[in-house]
């Protein structure tokens, strides 16, 4: 494969994945509105298109057409940079996520992941940790006390829960002996659901910790103190309007999808089927390529539904409860899990 072919294929992959990701974000919003609606015993959006399916497109158009205000007294460069940072970080981490079997494509080219790097998991963690700046700068540069409070809460929450999140993944990494996401998936794919890290790897505790920390990392209910409407009138994005507000909104849902992808890859067997080798892989080339993608999307979809379900069920935590829980319970349990996993691996 020549360098030109490589660049063209890579550009194609980037374009396709970005479009799919943006559509995914738009329809995650619809999924949330529909599901929360059903949880609250109402219909949710159902006027635009069949079953309200065109709602996200109309919402997007509305965001573009609204007046783009820049309030007085803001620190303009940082005010403009913040939404770009937020959405950029949310979209970048998908670049290392593998969606399906390797080596499907022309001349053994890895078509089903944008890039396959040795330190894939660390790249995701690094990009996520940079996403904090979007929120922190948005709050500070808006020159508004509610935004500042919201962003301070967000930064403290993100930094605190990032520790528990990172540590909960260490057990999985130790089992796989690699930070490469493809290796991690292949290591747990042998017998399907029985060897997934969540069950076969005895990483159930790690999965629960990851789940809780991920909810906090994405500023979602029950940890959505960042934008607690009743206290902060909206939080860090209060001074943003039009598409800039929509960019924060999209970043939040993009992060949800990213977190779902990581959970799928690390704990739920990635693109492999839950039946493992019991059902032999289809011989048809197209089916061989499409089935893994279907499993992957299905798992991420279930994760997103869980997100919405929790949002529709649990009330918001108090701020000190949030901090206490993160540092005094989640972090020690995550460390204990690492110790237990390493002891087990050493014993075996």
């Amino acid at each position: 494969m020549t360098i030109l072919e490589f660049i063209l294929w890579s550009l194609l992959k980037v374009a396709v994945v970005t479009v799919v990701m943006l559509m995914g974000i738009a329809y995650t919003v619809l999924l949330e509105r529909k599901l929360v609606g059903r949880i609250q015993n109402r219909w949710g959006p159902n006027r635009v298109g069949p079953f309200g399916l065109l709602q996200p497109l109309v919402d997007g158009a509305k965001s573009f057409l609204k007046e783009d205000l820049i309030p007085q007294g803001v620190n303009k460069p940082l005010y403009l940079l913040a939404p770009i940072l937020s959405l950029g970080c949310a979209l970048i981490s998908i670049a290392v996520v593998p969606f399906g079997e390797p080596k499907i494509g022309p001349k053994g080219f890895d078509l089903l992941s944008i890039s396959n790097v040795n330190i894939g998991l660390l790249v995701i963690l690094g990009v996520t940790s940079m996403g904090v700046y979007g929120i922190a700068l948005a709050g500070w540069s808006s020159n508004n006390k509610y935004s500042l409070l919201g962003s301070l809460r967000a930064s403290a929450q993100l930094v605190s829960y990032e520790l528990a999140l990172g540590l909960s993944l260490v057990g999985v990494v130790m089992r796989a002996g690699s930070l490469n996401l493809r290796t991690i998936v292949e290591q747990q794919s042998r017998l399907g659901i029985a060897t997934w890290n969540i069950l076969g790897g005895f990483q159930f505790v790690a999965f629960i910790i990851y789940l809780i920390a991920a909810f906090a990392e994405t500023n979602r209910s029950p940890f959505d103190l960042v934008e607690a409407e009743s206290e902060l009138a909206g939080g860090y994005n209060i001074e943003y309007s039009s598409m800039k507000f929509a960019m924060f909104f999209m970043a939040e849902y993009g992060n949800m999808i990213n977190v779902g992808c990581v959970a799928t890859l690390l704990f739920l067997g990635g693109w492999t089927s839950p039946f493992g080798d019991l059902i032999s892989p289809p011989q048809n080339m197209i089916a061989h390529a499409l089935f893994p993608i279907m499993w992957f999307v299905l798992k991420v979809f279930c994760f997103l539904c869980l997100y919405v379900w929790v949002r529709g069920t649990l009330p918001r935590f108090r701020y000190d409860q949030l901090m206490n829980f993160g540092w005094k319970y989640l972090l020690p349990i995550a460390i204990l899990n690492i110790v237990a996993t390493s002891l087990w691996l050493a014993y075996r």
């Binding site: 330190i119 940790s129 809460r153 206490n324």
Partner: protein
């Protein structure tokens, strides 16, 4: 290809460093420092140190600098005044910096194997790095962790000083205290 990326990020790194000194607003300086650290991570990556690059981004740009910006925001530090500089700095400071740089450069140039890493060195995997860290460098590594523990304890002691009669703070870490 490597050369282009190197030049790009080296220039970015230096520009960030110069901007860090020139800016009068603390938050701009802090952001420049983030640019410096992130470009350094890319330079590490070019030298084949992938784990180091990721750790640089996660630990320095992602965690430590967040605390920096955090403190700047909380104090709401204003723009600093630009002075013409003191005479002492001009007469002693600059020559001293030149001398120190010269001494360091001479010493570093005599170190064996310096500059051997380059675009063609094989990428040192996380496994290689941890093998070295937990065998050859085990003692310094453990001593460093004790050092950091002492620093944390010191921070907690300092943060709790002054309101000793109140019930102990419910956040046992520095971040928590700052957040309060």
């Amino acid at each position: 290809m490597h050369l282009i990326v190197f030049i790009l990020f080296a220039v970015l790194c230096l520009a960030g460093a110069v901007n860090l000194l020139l800016q009068t607003h603390p938050i701009n300086s802090a952001l420049s420092l983030i640019v410096v650290m992130t470009s350094l991570a890319v330079l590490y990556l070019l030298l084949g140190a992938e784990f180091l690059a990721a750790a640089q981004v996660i630990v320095y740009s992602g965690a430590i600098m967040v605390l920096f910006t955090f403190v700047v925001m909380l104090l709401n530090a204003g723009r600093e005044e630009r002075t013409l500089g003191s005479k002492a700095a001009k007469r002693i400071g600059f020559p001293a910096v030149v001398v120190i740089l010269a001494v360091l450069t001479t010493l570093l140039l005599h170190v064996e194997g310096l500059g051997a890493a380059g675009p063609n060195t094989p990428i040192s995997t996380t496994e290689d790095l941890s093998t070295v860290l937990f065998t050859n460098l085990l003692l310094p590594f453990e001593v460093t962790s004790v050092l950091i523990l002492i620093a944390i304890l010191g921070a907690v002691a300092l943060a709790r000083k002054g309101h000793g009669d109140q019930p102990p703070a419910d956040n046992s870490t520095q971040e928590g205290t700052v957040a309060k």
